[in-house]
Symmetry: C2
Subunit: 210 residues, 2 copies
DNA sequence: GCGCTACAGTAACATTGGTTACACAGGCAT
DNA sequence: ATGCCTGTGTAACCAATGTTACTGTAGCGC
């Protein structure tokens, strides 16, 4: 685990802190689709993402879903941070988008490290910063873009994370994450296919040229 | 200024920190409508809000606006925080919603205080927490509510902040902040008036019963 | 008073997106 | 093969929202 830590966080944390993380953290490996956190959960540990991707979702009272953003290698979940500090319930759901490896840090250490390590404080602030910016991006998309543009942006992001040029989702999956209906997504995807940007197959979408 | 500090932040900060804030902070009083920050500005100081309210707005590349949330007494601007730490440009615009009093803290102190004062760290984390939650609220509204519900929510929030039961805005003003058109707002307001919830006058809306 | 401008009301229409309904195909279990 | 379930394509329709255009009116400066 110490090697994974050094590779992914060595440029951020000094050795003393890396060692402390190594002491108290636990390694965790989860498969694609694994639910890491549910809305309403109390949070007892903070994740450092070593590899893979995690999608963060919001749900309203009627059960309607919306994708907020993805976490990637080197990220942590700022929502978790706030929950840890304030001892409040999670406002979001976290699902492994791909197989993922992470290190879970019990929240007890955080206060101490914030005092002791400047690099830890910077990491935490930086995380908040990134997360706020992701949220702004999300707001921009919902507020200012039409559905076809949102879909395009979604596909680009998704294919970037998957790291091959195929997206293995059904139209229904996509509709959930963009909070619209399957028919709408099928309609718009067909339009994109006619434009030559993608190729549609059963349960998968090949991205040709974006 | 020290008295205003004690009244508004005395329950959060110990005396030593209050004194430091008093030393380096500068008092600022701004009228309604005053632009405190523009998109693209570099930020050199962090505001503590003593009285009044500040609205935080987002704008897209076409100049379309959207209200994100309001800051009130005791709040600080988390966006400013992140900009201070990361030395990046502001992503948002900040306008005084009412006459407001604030204390501006130069960013140099922040790093030092984060190390020295646990209460300061807590305040900063708490601010991020609050701002992330406000952003989630905003996302919920845009993504899950119809325009009539968003308008209602907007009116309730606005009247709460104004602290009398009248909103002094034109339909066009409201349309900007909700990112829709004047005609749509007029239409929906008329419907609310017919339901007996509000009373419309030139450039002002009386909230009767929500 | 007159003229000007900002604000509001409303109709008619266009567009986007959501809904319903149904046909058809791929793939799996039997 | 047969049947079944899931996923996709498509048409027809509806509701919500955005757009254009025109009206009337309040308030202000002169």
């Amino acid at each position: 685990m110490i090697q994974a830590l050094k590779n992914n966080f060595g440029h951020l944390f000094e050795d003393a802190l890396l060692n402390e993380i190594n002491q108290v953290g636990t390694f965790k490996e989860v498969p694609e689709g694994f639910k890491l956190m549910e809305i309403g959960d109390y949070v007892k540990a903070m994740p450092l993402l070593i590899s893979g991707a995690i999608k963060i979702l919001r749900e309203d009272t009627d059960g309607d879903e919306l994708l907020l953003y993805f976490l990637e290698k080197g990220d942590t979940c700022a929502m978790t941070l706030t929950c840890c500090v304030a001892h409040t319930k999670s406002e979001i759901r976290a699902i492994a988008e791909t197989d993922a490896k992470l290190i879970m840090i019990p929240i007890q250490q955080m206060e101490e490290w914030s005092e002791k390590y400047k690099s830890w404080r910077h990491f935490v602030f930086e995380s908040y910063h990134n997360r706020l910016n992701e949220m702004l991006e999300t707001i921009d998309s919902i507020a200012f873009l039409k559905m076809d543009e949102r879909l395009l942006k979604y596909l680009v992001e998704k294919v970037r994370i998957s790291k091959d040029n195929t997206i293995h989702s059904t139209h229904q999956d996509i509709a959930y994450e963009l909070h619209t209906s399957r028919v709408v997504i099928s309609r718009l995807l067909k339009k994109l296919e006619k434009l030559g940007k993608i190729e549609l197959n059963r349960s998968s979408i090949l991205i040709k040229d974006m």
